[in-house]
């Protein structure tokens, strides 16, 4: 056999300035950070006067563990604004894909400046704002987890909305009929599982375009629940009085200042949501189940050739996703409203979809995204109480706009499961 001396790779000359992706990315992130910073300074710093003070309430009603915070409005806005600009400068120095978090930080600083500015010469219910955000984040996070369970195996799920709506309906009537919230919850989960199974069968067995399949489920669930509401619930209104789960407290932990009441005094949905996020964040990356799920979503043929049944893994996860969507759906009737109304999910399933993408198909990411989206909804109430002249509609748009920004890759493109949406057929 011939032996050859191999030449090293020709070294590129280093006197050439290249227009690389990493550089453009850094410039974009920095630009957005600057924008957030300048906006905070101009909108909040310059419009406040030096003698204005913002008071933020840090405790839930009837509790007094930590003192409320008083801040000079203008100085706070300036500090936060310059903080965001500093992050932008730093982004230019560290040219690295990870600087996307800098943009998140800058946006957070901007939001905080807004919260403080809105409470100038007044009192802002800061604890209420955060606690409300967690509340609102619960169904979004559950929906996002439902979505990522499907999509991690390569099955696109835009039907979270329909699955949650159907489950909300199923949970409400069974809980009303049996008088048991727990049976209602179980039935919600089963309804979700059923719709998950339908999605699985049409996208895996019948190989229907998964977006078409998802559209079918969304329209079908909306049509059917609306039809049944008019047909059945209007006449038999006692079938639509399920009641709601009461919150309960975890002793000792609930006494932690601020975080205690925030995290350890909730109803069953909140605990289940946090539990699922923590468990899945571990299980996806450290169990046999997780490894196989991810392999099927990334390279189904590779999984097939080592003897993993792609179909089985996909069926199982899409049904599991349906069940989690079922829990999320039951939140609407049994965790929040105490009754079923037509189209009561009202787009939350699509916000969950957004949260899944924003959270980059990771459970913790999805939770963070859900919290941000919940915050932007709750901020609406907070500002309304303070009589701020910001039209609520624009805050309510924020999750959607932010998601567009994220998928557009303006701040780093999310890494999608490679086989997402692809039908897999094993050989003849």
């Amino acid at each position: 056999m011939t032996s050859v001396t191999t030449a090293p790779a020709p070294a590129p000359r280093d006197d050439v300035v290249e227009d690389t992706g990493a550089r453009r990315h850094a410039l974009t992130v920095a630009g957005l950070c600057f924008l957030a910073g300048v906006a905070a300074i101009v909108l909040f710093g310059l419009t406040a006067t030096s003698d204005q003070v913002s008071t933020l309430l840090m405790n839930p009603r009837g509790v007094d563990t930590i003192p409320d915070v008083e801040l000079p409005t203008q100085i706070a806005a300036f500090v936060l604004g310059f903080g965001a600009i500093a992050l932008g400068v730093r982004a230019l120095q560290v040219v690295d894909p990870k600087i996307t978090v800098f943009f998140g930080g800058a946006l957070g600083l901007f939001a905080l400046a807004l919260v403080i500015w809105a409470a100038r010469d007044g009192t802002g219910a800061f604890y209420g704002l955060i606690a409300g955000s967690v509340q609102r984040a619960t169904p979004i996070a559950l929906g996002a987890i439902a979505g990522l369970l499907c999509e991690r195996t390569g099955v696109i799920n835009i039907a979270i909305e329909g699955m949650m709506l159907a489950a909300a309906f199923g949970a409400a009537i069974t809980a009303s009929a049996t008088g048991s919230l727990w049976i209602g919850l179980l039935c919600g989960v089963l309804t979700g599982a059923l719709f998950g199974a339908i999605h699985a069968v049409i996208s895996i067995r019948y190989e229907v375009d998964q977006i078409v399949g998802g559209t079918f489920i969304n329209i079908f669930a909306l049509g059917l629940t609306s039809y049944l509401t008019v047909r059945v619930l209007v006449e038999y209104s006692d079938l639509n009085q399920p009641g709601t789960f009461r919150p309960f407290e975890i002793p000792l932990l609930v006494d932690i200042p601020f975080l205690g009441p925030l995290l350890f005094s909730q109803n069953v949905f909140g605990f289940v949501m946090f539990g699922l996020v923590a468990f899945l964040a571990w299980a996806l990356f450290n169990t046999r189940w997780g490894l196989r799920v991810r392999s099927v979503g990334e390279h189904p043929r590779a999984a097939d050739t080592v003897g993993i049944s792609v179909r089985f893994i996909r069926y199982r996860n899409v049904i599991l996703g349906g069940m989690v969507a079922g829990i999320g759906g039951a939140w609407f009737t049994l965790g929040s409203a105490g009754r079923f109304d037509q189209n009561m999910t009202n787009g939350k399933g699509f916000i969950a979809l957004a949260a899944m993408i924003f959270g980059r198909w990771h459970p913790v990411g999805a939770l963070i995204a859900a919290l941000i989206f919940g915050f932007s909804e709750q901020l609406n109430d907070y500002l309304a109480l303070l009589d701020t002249p910001i039209p609520s509609e624009f805050l309510l748009m924020a999750p959607y706009v932010v998601t567009i920004v994220v998928v557009a890759g303006l701040v780093g493109r999310p890494r999608v499961p490679a086989a997402n949406g692809q039908v897999y057929r094993s050989g003849g």
Binding site: A7, P10, A303, D304, G427, G428
Partner: protein
């Protein structure tokens, strides 16, 4: 393990991929399966590996009939396969990829990563594979990825190893290493099936050679009993004539000038590093090299499909760096793309539309925004005649044509409009010999008509047959240039392997 295939037939709707194939692989032997692309080698092995189910025939392992309904069954029976397209999850580590499907666990369902890593390290050391279990697969060079594939099979204690075109993506020196590894695996008592269409490798490694043509076994031999010419003849079914009749070139003005061109790939990695060369009217310049050394990116940058990050491309003295493909067509540049199914054709469109795919905007095919159907049909009828495109009708979807005829559609279209520069990437890949000869003939004709021709080919024989000058690329740079007369298998092969002359 002794593997025997008896009377295997595999039919797909409308196609017989394998017909009555008999094959015996003895333990400790390397059995080569030789055949052209499309001869049915991979299908046969996918049957053995449980990915496809045979229509007729049976598989015997150590004399016992075996029936596989999935790869899992085949793996359990001790068969391992290294696929032509790697079956590795790019975002997993080596250890994760190796253990996938047979994961060791510390508690029920919980991965025992340490056990997997230890096992990978141990196997890697024992077989001289030199693989880091914690490396992310997408960051590894292809040669190493291939060793990961072998590790996967060894991890599952395979007694029979199928290697499907294992050398297609390797450099000559990596090929030498790979052949050595394969020999050692066989010497330990495994049976190895080595699939290839490269004669020299097959003769270097095989104990027994079985030749497939159009799904049938056309002969079984050993390296000692046969020479390359015989093998080639058996493989293609007629005497191979890769020598093209052509006179010496008479190059004139410089048409294409590339200077200090730098191009990055999709992942923002440097693919072409400061490359410079010229192509003159009336000559064929070939870019040779093992696939993946920057040739594709270089060609993409020249024809306007990829924006270079630095450097210049000039056409007839005009700077056309970063011009779009439409502008290049206007300037008289034609390009036969590397991946005809993906880039060159729209398979659901009729032949006639595909013959004007990049020309619809110009006269006579359209006036304003209105397309002139009649002109398009007339053009199609003419080119089908001229280029001997075998199709049932010019309205047939181009996807229903055979590979050779699809390529003639592209070549016909491109030659119908080129005025200055003809760029061809892998123009004959996967084609039958008849089509190859025809296309080679047309390329030489184009040169003789005064076009500048740039040929990007990883088929050394094609390069040697056609080129007036050969530029060899290695790791993104030009490692050497050889004139057509001086170019030999050895001189160019050495450069392709990265050895400076």
């Amino acid at each position: 393990m002794r593997v025997e295939l008896r009377g295997i037939t595999k039919r797909f709707p409308g196609v017989v991929a394998n017909e009555d194939v008999n094959l015996v692989v003895e333990p400790g032997q390397v059995h080569a399966l030789l055949g052209e692309n499309g001869a049915g080698k991979s299908t046969l092995m996918n049957v053995l590996f449980g990915l496809y189910r045979q229509t007729e025939g049976e598989v015997l392992l150590d004399g016992v009939p075996a029936s596989f309904s999935s790869p899992a069954d085949a793996i359990d029976a001790g068969i391992g396969m290294v696929h032509q397209h790697f079956m590795l999850v790019p975002v997993f580590t080596v250890a994760e990829n190796v253990m996938l499907g047979v994961e060791p666990t510390s508690a029920p369902g919980v991965l025992d990563r340490d056990a997997a890593r230890r096992r990978v390290l141990e196997l890697s050391a024992r077989h001289g594979l030199d693989v880091d279990p914690d490396a992310m697969v997408e960051d590894l060079p292809v040669g190493v990825q291939q060793r990961v594939e072998i590790l996967k099979a060894l991890y599952r204690e395979a007694d029979c190893l199928i290697l499907d075109e294992p050398t297609a993506v390797l450099t000559p020196s990596e090929i030498d290493d790979m052949l050595e590894i394969i020999r050692r695996l066989a010497d330990e008592g495994r049976s190895v099936i080595f699939i290839s269409h490269k004669l020299r490798e097959v003769r270097a490694i095989a104990d027994t050679i079985t030749i497939l043509r159009r799904g049938r076994v056309v002969g079984t031999t050993t390296p000692d009993e046969s020479d390359e010419q015989e093998l080639a003849t058996a493989m293609v079914g007629r005497d191979v004539q890769l020598v093209v009749d052509r006179s010496a070139a008479s190059p004139t003005d410089v048409v294409l000038r590339v200077s200090d061109l730098r191009v990055r790939d999709e992942r923002d990695q440097l693919a072409v590093a400061d490359v410079s060369f010229d192509v003159r009217a009336g000559e064929i310049v070939a870019i040779a090299g093992v696939q993946g050394n920057g040739q594709s990116e270089l060609v993409s940058a020249i024809v306007g499909l990829r924006r270079p990050t630095a450097g210049r491309v000039e056409l007839d003295g005009t700077d056309v760096t970063g011009a779009n493909p439409a502008r290049m067509v206007e300037l008289g540049v034609a390009h036969v793309p590397e991946d005809r199914q993906r880039d060159g054709l729209i398979s659901s469109f009729p032949v006639s539309d595909n013959l004007v795919l990049n020309l619809t905007g110009r006269s006579p095919y359209s006036r304003g925004i209105r397309m002139d159907r009649r002109a398009i049909r007339e053009n199609a009828e003419r080119l089908v005649q001229d280029f001997d495109i075998r199709t049932s009708s010019i309205d047939a979807a181009v996807g229903t044509l055979s590979g050779g005829n699809q390529q003639k559609v592209i070549v016909g279209r491109e030659m119908s409009h080129t005025e200055r520069l003809l760029v061809l990437s892998q123009p004959t890949r996967g084609l039958d010999v008849g089509s190859i000869q025809y296309i080679h003939h047309r390329i030489v004709q184009a040169r003789d008509q005064g076009l500048a021709v740039l040929l990007n080919s990883s088929e050394l024989d094609e390069v040697l047959a056609l080129a007036d000058r050969v530029i060899v690329m290695y790791r993104g740079g030009v490692i050497g240039e050889v004139s057509g007369e001086e170019a030999t298998r050895d001189s160019v092969g050495m450069l392709m392997a990265g050895a400076r002359a």
